[in-house]
Amino acid sequence: MSYAPGALARRVARDRVRLALVWAVMLAWPFVAPNEYILSLGVMFLINLVLVASLNLVLGYAGQISLCHGAFFGLGAYVSGVLSVRYGITPAFGMAAAIAGTTVAALLIALPTLRLRGHYLAMGTLGFNAILTVLFNELVPLTGGPNGLAGIAPFGLFGYELDTPRRFFFVAWLLAGVVMLLILNLVAGRIGRGLRAISGSEIAAGALGIDTFRFKVAAFSLSAGFAGLAGAMYAHFNMYASPETFSFFTSVLLVVMVALGGWGSYWGPVFGALIYTAMPELLRKFQDAELFLFGLCMIVVLLYLPGGIAGLRARRRAAAPAAPRASAAKEASDGAA
């Protein structure tokens, strides 16, 4: 995709306004959610949004396959959780440690693998996910092993414990909003353009003077840091963490969510996170056929909607001048459905 400079600036300005609007509307959630459970789904959506949006930086913008985002999520949760349960460290410091820890871990993987062209990041991250899963399960004195880590302290604000979904919602709302704003500023600027160039062609990007290695490493470690933040949010919200939440399968599902939402699109992760949050609920309704339907939907979206759900609107707009009637009719029928 290419934009005239003015067009890009207008687009970013429009996205900023939209972000502010969406976030303002979201503030109403605790007041309209009918019960605590639905309210807690809202919190999970915000946490998942941080996860999917940060993975989108690596997968969508830079075009690099990372298969350990679930492990970074888990590392964040366990760093903050273990510090809280075993050493009594307050969640705010735990969260900072979680972000620092995941960023350093990401650097360790990125420095050797991203120097090489090809699937090396996918391989390195796959191995890293496997190792972390074993550590979460087996370092029982620290992590509690397969039974999970219980008794993680909730966030506190001046001695006021944020231990219910209603109280925690505002923290998640604020943190996720900050992350989304940071990502918007990042992808709108030089770094975002550089990453998109790398995803288009690494050789061409290099020829244009982009330090492809540094850009990729920066995007990957930043995205890991955000996943660590999401992990810390999850641990202190749920007050419990268990290894299976952060398995290889989670990492694969997160990749799927980036693709379904629309990779490389700023708003794509919102749809991806919505699906990821709603999926367990929907799956429970459909019982056994659900998994098959999910796989089928995924194939159909990848084949026929290459831009994911976020790409739908752009496609419709592109088709509109050619066939205004057809698209209006489609919108009407969509509305009816």
Binding site: P112, T113, L114, G118, M123, G127, A259, M298, L303
Partner: protein
């Protein structure tokens, strides 16, 4: 060699042979598409499940169930290419990789819906009575696994090195347009790649089932191990699949016997990452690594 170490080595060689077969399937599709095929492990699981169903409910003889299962899974592989991958207008490795995740999810749930959620097993190909080899008690199935895997490996080597179809598949993978110019259909080559990879996966699934049982959720782990073996040996290299599989199997078995069974996966993967960092092309990859 002490008997207990010999036992570990034999166990490692047999799981290693399975990993090698899965890695071989991975590599065949990697060569054709440049993509990581997440469905490979599900085809392994499906091979075991279908064979068990044909043998148990279908009352087929063991050899018939084996062949039947491989045929069914090969057809599933062909259909996956024809109905899904072929539909892509512009196949890029990233999209093909994502599509194989979808294929994997569909395959797994289809097996669950049709064959149920219970674990299924098969009897050993020549009984389940352990035999003594130099003081170590060995399941005869272990020897079957190593033998059949060796035959498949040699077969694949001959197929890609000696036959016209195998050579034209390599040509199509290396340079689709040039291959098309000399009359090789890259589409056909792609289709056959999926069929062969699925069939090899199914073979691995059938021969491991007598030792470990199988159920619809076994595929992910197997695929994961097979992919690791493929990268350990060098992605896309056929001898690499064999070496990578055997090394990974031995590492796991020795680590679990001599260090700690809880940490065996961690040991195996730490070694794997080290190899990747020191020799990015894999243990016997050709060394065509581009630095950025």
């Amino acid at each position: 060699m002490p008997a207990d170490v010999l036992q570990l080595v034999l166990a490692g060689l047999s799981t290693g042979s399975i990993y090698a077969l899965i890695a071989l399937g991975f590599n065949i599709i990697f060569k054709a598409t440049d993509a990581i095929n997440f469905a490979q492990g599900e085809w392994v699981m499906m091979g075991g499940m279908v064979a068990a169903a044909l043998y148990g409910a279908g009352k087929m003889p063991l050899a018939g169930a084996f062949i039947g299962a491989v045929a069914v899974v090969a057809v599933v592989g062909l259909l996956s290419e024809r109905l899904v991958i072929r539909q892509l207008a512009k196949p890029t490795p990233l999209v093909v990789t994502l599509l194989t995740i979808g294929i994997a999810i569909c395959t797994k749930s289809l097996v669950m819906l049709t064959l149920g959620k219970n674990p299924a097993g098969l009897p050993g190909f020549s009984g389940d009575k352990p035999i003594a080899v130099a003081g170590a008690a060995v399941q005869p199935q272990t020897l079957w696994i190593i033998g059949i895997a060796a035959v498949v490996m040699v077969g694949a080597h001959l197929f890609f090195g000696r036959t016209v179809l195998g050579k034209s598949m390599r040509a199509a993978a290396a340079e689709p347009e040039a291959a098309a110019l000399v009359g090789v259909s890259p589409r056909m080559a792609m289709l056959v790649s999926f069929g062969i990879a699925a069939a090899i996966g199914a073979i691995a699934g059938v021969i491991i089932t007598p030792l470990t049982l199988t159920s619809f959720d076994h595929g992910t782990v197997l695929g994961f191990k097979g992919f690791s073996a493929a990268m350990l040996g060098g992605l896309g290299s056929l001898p690499g699949a064999m070496v990578g599989g055997l090394v990974l199997g031995l590492l796991e078995s020795l680590a679990s016997g001599l260090i700690s069974s809880a940490f065996k996966d961690a040991v195996a993967f730490v070694v794997l990452l080290l190899v990747l960092f020191v020799r990015p092309a894999g243990l016997i990859g050709k060394g065509q690594v581009e630095r950025v």
